[in-house]
């Protein structure tokens, strides 16, 4: 079925109950879909590596919708959203951005790492994100309306260690409903590591347990940074390349933390956690 057919065939707006090879809490998944099909913008938050970026894409796949991702952190001036000037054939012309194209058709537009930029960068798309859903582009003197089936999903990093990010902006907060993503439960994460990344059952369970415990310690402020999905994925990759378990753990989970402080260092804590689950 083509995209157009699919959208017309009234499958638009029908929630899926789960996503292949990806875990989201069932209630959250249904709320996210309810919001996005009601024209309400969604903001995904959560620790690094909890699948925010990945989820935006998987939602598009699940609903067979076109997908456009904006790496918001790379936008330097408020006008960058809409395009740039180029010198072609003896004159300067304005080349509209893909973003401008994307918002005029059905699909999901992911605004990734939305809080990586200062609020003045957000300002120029406020009218796109609020009930107006339109914008005037000076450069081309065009009024653009957002397609009624264009869905905005933003992602945001929160957390103690995200120094590159900017204070929350209430104007942004008002334009999104926020859903916080979390790590999958231990068993589920282990299952994913096994099924998607090819870890053995034992390895998968071990990596998942370590990840979870480290994450708890981060939230208890015993560690300075969170451990999302990524170290476990990397460790699995190293294991599959034939590295030993110890080496894989060292270069992924342990080396992310500081060795300063001797027995009181974060690395010591991580080693204590690893030992707890090694048989």
């Amino acid at each position: 079925m083509t995209i157009e057919q699919n959208i017309q065939a009234d499958r638009w707006g029908v929630n899926v109950e789960s996503l292949p090879k990806f875990w989201v809490d069932a209630e959250k998944l249904s709320i996210i879909q309810d919001l996005m099909f009601s024209g309400i913008n969604v903001m995904l938050t959560g620790d690094p590596g909890t699948g925010k970026t990945d989820l935006t894409k998987r939602l598009a796949q699940a609903h067979n919708l076109p997908f456009h991702r904006v790496n918001v952190g790379a936008i330097r001036t408020p006008r960058d959203w809409f395009g740039h000037w180029e010198f072609i054939g003896g004159q300067t012309v304005f080349i509209p951005s893909e973003f401008v194209e994307a918002i005029q058709r059905p699909g999901i537009v992911a605004l990734d790492e939305f809080n990586r930029v200062t609020p003045d960068i957000h300002n120029s798309i406020y009218t796109i994100l609020d009930h107006n859903r339109e914008v005037y582009i000076e450069e081309t003197k065009q009024h653009i309306s957002v397609h009624p089936k264009c869905i905005f999903i933003a992602t945001e990093n929160r957390g103690r260690s995200h120094t590159g990010t900017f204070m929350e902006d209430t104007a942004v907060g008002d334009r999104f409903e926020t859903i916080q993503l979390e790590l999958p439960p231990v068993e589920t994460m282990a299952h994913l590591l096994e099924a998607v990344y090819g870890a053995t059952a034992d390895q998968a369970l071990l990596l998942s347990r370590i990840t979870h415990k480290l994450n708890i310690l981060y939230h208890e402020e015993s560690l300075s940074r969170p451990s999302g999905f990524r170290p476990a994925i990397s460790a699995t990759a190293l294991l599959k390349r034939g590295q030993s378990l110890h080496t894989a753990l060292k270069y992924t989970f342990v080396n992310r933390f500081s060795p300063e402080g001797g027995v009181d260092s974060e690395q010591t804590t991580v080693l204590q956690v690893i030992q707890a689950y090694l048989k």
């Binding site: 003896g90 310690l217 001797g262 027995v263 009181d264 204590q272 690893i274 090694l278 048989k279």
Partner: protein, 599 residues
């Protein structure tokens, strides 16, 4: 349940050196354990209570963290008991016997001792976590029942913890080996004249040993072995959720019936041997600390106990444990091991705030002056980018238009403070600092005033972060954290007393490590050392040179403000001798600007 080859590993290898050394995951280990010597046995045996307390505090900290990992942060506090009693659950206090440390068994190295203490702490915490309330509140019918109840409960909570944290199972084994197998004669049954009494006691003692000894103890009484098998079958299952639901009171009752049938008459007052009484007392977790045992064999002196308490409140951290353990490898071989390096956050004493206020009033006229001297740190920056494919049209580059489309420019104005600085101040607090610095002022007072000046001047500047450490060598290299982004109470700056000697090189090394690990990434680091130019001779002086050189190569500048009368050259990149506030402020400002702009 214990897998045989695991036991083989535990027999030969310490567990805690996995993290004590920080190198548990390194390959090419022979798997037979590291022969780390008892570095702190020397400390523990030494006359120096400070040093003893530090070693014990460090060990407690590490053990507590294992407990935190299992049960959640700050759920329990772990301490050494000054009396025998173990745990007080109402207040979530776990008190460890200090015996393994103070009277280490033969052949036990430091990691072995930490293993035992970890096992002990895990055992106590496991009771608090998994034993049901009736275990503490119910009075067992008779002393034999009490023994069985305790054995069942001990085995139960240990196995449950091991199911959730399989890698910690070995700590229980280490603890049991220490407790039950080092003095077999203590736990062995002692024959009694009365035949019935003898039989009852024999069964209890043997049952305890079969279940708790790590030496595959087999009883001569067949029934004991059979009943032990039954208990193992009941408890050593693989499903922790099912095990948590097990009613251990019923299990104990069943075990008791199997072991004794109706041999025990309720109207006779039986007495237990001292070993079993002792064992039962350990199970008596309700006890007030100190109320149980009279011979006080694990008593640690209360002054030591107090010191440890203080150090824990000061969040004392040993910064070089790994190095110490390695140095202890061959205790007979010179050079002597390096001193322990500890960071601590002193508790603010009464006069501190007042002394700080005094300093502040002295330096007040110079605070703004120094801050202004650093005003360049806040200038606005205009960045022009040219030759871009997009942006504002750059008319000057239109001449390129026929061969390039990169004719745009962009102007970025960064108004915020752009020169970030992380500044570490290192204040000599050794005994020589009590000497005068001129003008009726001691060196330490002057150093305090200068530290106050810096903090007062820099604190409001957003782009600058400041750390202040005092340092001296007394028992250990003491790095006292007087001010830092995490410790903003300035009264601590009034804490600078002067004692001990001057480990200047080591202090420099560890202050820099802190600055580099806690400071911001890619931010210019500067270390300012306020000292009187009298570092300990020999290695410490050499180390100053070495560290300065190393720091320089890492982009960290070092500046020495010399408050003594001996302006010795001993390795700093830049030295500003003390003259007066006006001159020092000016010179420092000028120097810093120059250094930072060099970058």
């Amino acid at each position: 349940m214990v897998v045989p080859n695991q036991v083989e590993t535990w027999k030969n290898k310490s567990l805690s050196d996995f993290w004590l050394t920080g190198r548990g995951l390194e390959q090419n280990k022979n798997g037979m354990g590291q022969p780390y010597a008892l570095f702190s046995h020397k400390l523990l045996a030494s006359e120096d209570t400070d040093a003893q307390a530090m070693a014990m505090t460090a060990i407690l900290g590490a053990v507590s963290r294992v407990i935190d990992i299992v049960h959640g942060r700050n759920k329990f506090t772990v301490n050494f008991s000054s009396k025998e009693a173990r745990t007080h659950f109402a207040t979530k206090q776990i008190a460890l016997s200090a015996e393994p440390l103070l009277e280490p068994p033969q052949g036990y190295l430091m990691p072995d001792i930490v293993d035992v203490l970890t096992g002990m702490a895990l055992h106590e915490a496991a009771h608090a976590q998994f034993s049901k309330p009736e275990y503490y509140t119910e009075m067992p019918g008779n002393p034999f029942m009490a023994v069985i109840r305790n054995v069942v409960e001990d085995v139960y909570v240990e196995h449950l913890t091991s199911l959730y944290y399989p890698g910690y199972a070995g700590y229980f084994w280490k603890y049991r080996r220490y407790e039950f197998d080092l003095h077999p004669e203590k736990w062995a049954h002692k024959p009694k004249k009365d035949l019935m009494d003898n039989e009852l006691n024999l069964r209890a003692s043997d049952f305890l040993l079969v279940m708790r000894s790590t030496r595959d103890y087999v009883s001569n009484v067949a029934r004991v072995n059979k009943v032990a098998e039954l208990l193992k079958k009941t408890i050593y299952i693989d499903n922790p959720v099912r095990l948590e639901k097990l009613n251990t009171r019923n299990v104990s009752k069943k075990i008791y019936d199997e072991l004794y049938g109706n041999m025990i008459q309720q109207d006779i007052a039986y007495s237990l041997p001292s070993s079993l009484l002792d064992y039962n007392n350990r199970g008596n977790h309700q006890a007030e600390p100190g109320s149980t045992n009279k011979d006080n064999k694990t008593n640690i002196p209360s002054d030591l106990q107090n010191l440890i308490q203080n150090m824990r409140q000061e969040q004392l951290q040993v910064a070089n444990m790994g190095e110490l353990m390695e140095a202890g490898l061959d205790p007979d071989y010179p050079p002597p091991p390096p001193p322990m390096v500890v960071f601590r956050r002193p508790l603010i004493d009464e006069g501190a705030a007042e002394r700080y206020e005094q300093s502040r009033s002295v330096v007040k006229p110079f605070v703004i002056r120094l801050r202004n001297r650093l005003s360049w740190a806040n200038t606005r920056q205009v960045i022009n980018q040219y030759q871009l494919p997009s942006g504002e049209l750059d008319e000057d580059s239109l001449y390129q238009a026929s061969y390039s489309n990169k004719i745009f420019r962009r102007t970025e104005i960064i108004n915020t403070r752009t020169r970030n600085l992380d500044i570490g101040l290192l204040v000599d607090t050794s005994a020589s600092m009590v000497y005068p610095a001129g003008e009726g002022l001691s060196r330490i007072e002057l150093a305090r005033n200068l530290a106050t000046l810096f903090v007062e001047a820099l604190e409001p500047v957003d782009s600058v972060r400041t750390w202040v450490f005092g340092f001296n060598l007394k028992g250990a290299v003491n790095m006292t954290e007087l001010y830092s982004p995490q410790l903003m109470n300035k009264a601590r700056l009034g804490m600078t007393g002067a004692e001990g000697t001057t480990p200047e090189g080591t202090a420099l090394k560890y202050a820099a490590l802190r600055l580099l690990s806690e400071g911001r990434a890619l931010v210019q680091k500067v270390l300012v050392v306020i000292a009187d130019g009298n570092p300990n001779p020999g290695p410490e002086t050499k180390l100053v040179k070495e560290q300065v050189r190393r720091l320089k190569s890492q982009g960290c500048k070092t500046i020495n403000i010399l408050v003594g009368d001996r302006p010795l050259e001993y390795g700093y990149q830049y030295t500003i001798p003390w003259t007066d506030y006006y001159t020092v402020t000016t010179e420092f400002g000028r120097l810093l600007k120059k250094l930072v702009e060099e970058e």
